[in-house]
């Protein structure tokens, strides 16, 4: 194979100019031809439209081709064997076409910088619609287009659901490495909102939020997609009370049996114990753990488990749930990082499957709510609830009922008006890092969980 390449960088400015010139000419030629072709097509279209009505090729409608013809055919002469037309399913019409250019958007203001790109608010110049533009980080990797970005686009394009942020299109800048995701703009993210609220959400509002997140996640899991970075800052809320899951930079397809995957996923505070203990095979349960953390955060307005590092995170988890026992999590000893773990005597371990969390931390939660939270924060992934089990949980059917979306309060939008302040929350792990071999010997060392734990709820009496 000759290594002479059309794209090899040529330092000679003269050849470069000639090449550019040639390219321009070719481009013009092609455009002229395309134009000629288009005119020809139009003539043909007009001609055919005049002699046959049903074959009118309108360019805006989705492609139907043969299927359309056969349907028309069927209307004229129904299939003799059946009394009525066969009930044939039509698939969603989808097409592809080249990316548009970023010049179609006018940038309004910066929203935030996430781990995988910069997000800004922008206006579509043609339609006037306000959208969120996320610039993908192209880390100049030796492997070409970042696989995380590709997965984010692929999963978002596939995950069309009312509780998942809508990816409208992907646009490109003038350079090949400028790639932007054009998404629906939502006014808030739950993290910023919780930070600015003086009181937590009402129980009825928490249920509305959780139900929507669970319903979006249920759809994802049904499509064999794991999100792998669920946290309050990735949950968006608009002024119509709709919650949408965003930021699919960590998302990927999974399989059954689960493939071997990196453990370096999910922002530390929302990371499940099996990931922290180095499980190489994991599945959708890791998202359910994050949901548990989010539930706890909605209740108290503070992130539930704010570990300083992996070891501290594990110790905070065990302080909340109690240490694992042979009964609650038999497989736990075989996890790579559990070897160095020394557990305290089992007498203090709580019982029940899953063991209920301490009531003291969630004084206003009903029994059903505490059961749901405890089952989401079950150490053993196989006893953790699935999305379907959560959606059917009695917590959502008891009073106070979930607040209708239309009744949801509205809040002044930070994203819409001004630059966000930088958060102090940790970020999702960077791709390509080595999973650390952790020494958990100190998990039950001197350190107590007192530094984040007992925040007095004060005297509040609120009813949803």
């Amino acid at each position: 194979m000759s290594s002479k390449s059309r794209w090899a960088t040529d330092d000679d400015p003269e050849t470069e100019a000639i090449l550019a010139q040639r390219k321009r000419e070719k481009e013009e030629q092609r455009r002229a031809k395309a134009e000629k072709q288009r005119q020809l097509d139009e003539q043909q279209a007009q001609a055919s439209a005049s002699d046959s009505q049903p074959q009118d090729p309108d360019t805006t409608a989705p492609p139907k081709k043969r299927r359309r013809l056969s349907n028309d055919h069927n209307e004229d002469q129904p299939i003799p064997t059946a009394n009525n037309e066969p009930n044939i399913l039509s698939f969603p019409a989808q097409e592809w076409g080249p990316c548009r250019n970023i010049a179609n958007f006018e940038r309004l203001n910066h929203i935030e910088e996430g781990s995988y790109g910069y997000v800004s608010r922008a206006k579509d110049i043609n339609t006037g619609e306000v959208v969120a533009l996320k610039k993908l980080k192209m880390d100049n990797s030796p492997d070409g287009f970042p696989v995380t970005g590709l997965r984010e686009i692929q999963t978002l394009l596939e995950a069309r659901h009312q509780n998942i942020v809508y990816l409208r299109e992907v646009v490109m800048g003038t350079k090949m490495d400028e790639v932007y995701l054009v998404m629906d703009f939502l006014e808030h993210d739950l993290k910023t909102l919780l930070d600015d609220m003086s009181e937590p959400f009402l129980p009825s509002e928490i249920k509305t939020i959780l139900l929507q997140v669970l319903s979006g996640l249920d759809f994802l899991h049904d499509q064999w997609i794991m999100h792998r970075d669920l946290k309050t800052s990735n949950l968006l809320l608009n002024n119509r009370g709709e919650v949408k899951i965003a930021d699919f930079g960590m998302a990927r397809y999974y399989g059954d049996p689960p493939p071997k995957l990196t453990q370096l996923v999910v922002t530390l505070w929302y990371r499940s114990p099996e990931l922290l203990l180095g499980a190489e095979k994991y599945s959708t349960e890791i998202d359910m753990w994050s949901i548990g953390c989010i539930f706890g955060e909605l209740l108290t307005k503070e992130p539930l488990l704010q570990g300083k590092n992996e070891v501290d995170q594990v110790s905070k988890i065990f302080a909340l749930t109690g240490p694992p026992t042979q009964q609650t999590w038999p497989e736990f000893r075989s996890l790579p990082n559990a070897k160095s773990l020394r557990l305290p005597p089992t007498s203090s371990a709580p019982t029940g499957t899953p063991p209920l969390l301490s009531r003291a931390k969630f004084p206003f939660l009903t029994n059903a709510g505490l059961h749901l939270l405890s089952s989401l924060l079950a150490l053993n992934p196989s006893t953790r609830l699935s999305t379907k089990e959560c959606l059917a949980h009695r917590y959502f059917r008891e009073d106070p009922r979930p607040k209708p979306k239309e009744m949801f309060p509205t809040f002044p939008s930070k994203a819409g008006m001004e630059k966000r302040r930088r958060r102090e929350t940790p970020e999702a792990p960077k791709r390509g890092q080595e999973a650390p071999k952790l020494d958990f010997a100190s998990v039950f060392g001197g350190q107590s969980s007192g530094d984040t734990g007992e925040q007095g709820a004060g005297f509040t009496l609120r009813l949803g």
């Binding site: 055919h73 592809w96 492997d143 070409g144 394009l157 069309r160 992907v170």
Partner: protein, 300 residues
């Protein structure tokens, strides 16, 4: 119900080519004749298939790569054979598809394999090396130098971005193979010979000049291959219009069966047509072929 059912079907269905995309191509606008374009696309798809096998990728990845490769060339906004070398698009489509799968592969492996397959002396491919594989292995004929590797890698990654831009990042490809197996079980066909023949038809259809994977949904391809395979193997299926159960009408079924049956003849005609010569795999080779055809025409 319709909308929720439709959204759940996304992973079983594909984006299809529009009539505009099927009737125009960037290459034909650039003056590449339709038969030459079809020959090059056919050879390029075979190149992708062979490279995938040598890279030990599973057939679902290879099949998805071939569909992506095929999508790239169609429509007036697709890629032109006079701008992009077919070998580069084949390599980049395979590399990108593998990257998104459970079996990623490295640029170096991909480029090593392509250097071998494109070697005019050592390649086993009829459209690259008409003499056929040499008797003795000749590694010196397909050695990729470090400098060559660096240059080729730049091309690979650049073409990857161009494919993504051209397809609007639509990398999703649903395949008919597993659907066909499910249908076979539903129809109660116990014969593994039929199943094998079904897969043979589905894999050959990837190379179809009628672009069957771009015009029909996977369920229709599955049904047509079952219809054809059971006939060829002499296995009798239920005596009703069973294809309607799988949402395929008779007209589509007929079209697909004819398309699949014509593959063998098409492939033989291609080999005959290019006997003793190579199919152009690069822009330069294509320019040479177009020039040759022009001279022949003028000579007559």
């Amino acid at each position: 119900m319709a909308s929720s059912a439709a959204s759940g079907l996304k992973y079983l269905s594909n984006a299809l080519a529009t009539p505009e995309q099927l009737s125009n191509s960037s290459s034909s606008i650039d003056g590449v004749s339709p038969d030459l374009e079809a020959s090059i696309r056919f050879a390029g798809a075979q190149l992708t298939q062979t490279a995938g096998i040598l890279l030990r990728l599973s057939q679902d990845i290879i099949a998805q790569a071939i569909v992506t490769f095929t999508r790239f060339w169609i429509g007036s906004e697709g890629g032109s054979l006079r701008i992009y070398s077919v070998k580069d698009v084949s390599a980049a489509a395979l590399y990108m598809t593998a990257k998104l799968s459970f079996q990623p592969t490295s640029p170096r492996s991909v480029l090593n394999v392509y250097t071998f397959l494109l070697s005019k002396e050592a390649s086993p491919l009829w459209f690259v090396n008409p003499q056929g594989s040499p008797d003795k292995p000749m590694p010196e004929a397909y050695h990729l130098t470090e400098g060559g590797y660096q240059a080729q890698r730049q091309v690979l990654l650049r073409i990857e971005s161009i494919i993504l831009r051209t397809l609007g990042f639509n990398t999703h490809v649903a395949l008919p193979h597993t659907i066909a197996l499910t249908y076979l079980q539903t129809l109660g066909v116990p014969s593994s010979a039929v199943a094998r023949r079904v897969f043979e038809h589905l894999n050959s259809a990837l190379l179809s000049p009628q672009l069957l994977y771009l015009t029909h949904q996977p369920n229709a391809l599955a049904v047509a291959s079952i219809y054809l395979a059971s006939r060829e193997e002499g296995v009798k299926l239920v005596d009703v219009e069973w294809w309607e159960v799988f949402d395929v009408d008779r007209e589509d079924l007929g079209f697909l069966v004819v398309g699949m049956r014509s593959m063998e003849g098409f492939a033989q005609a291609e080999v005959e047509k290019w006997k003793g010569r190579g199919v152009p795999m690069t822009v330069d080779e294509l320019e040479g072929e177009i020039e040759r055809r022009r001279m022949m025409e003028e000579g007559e």
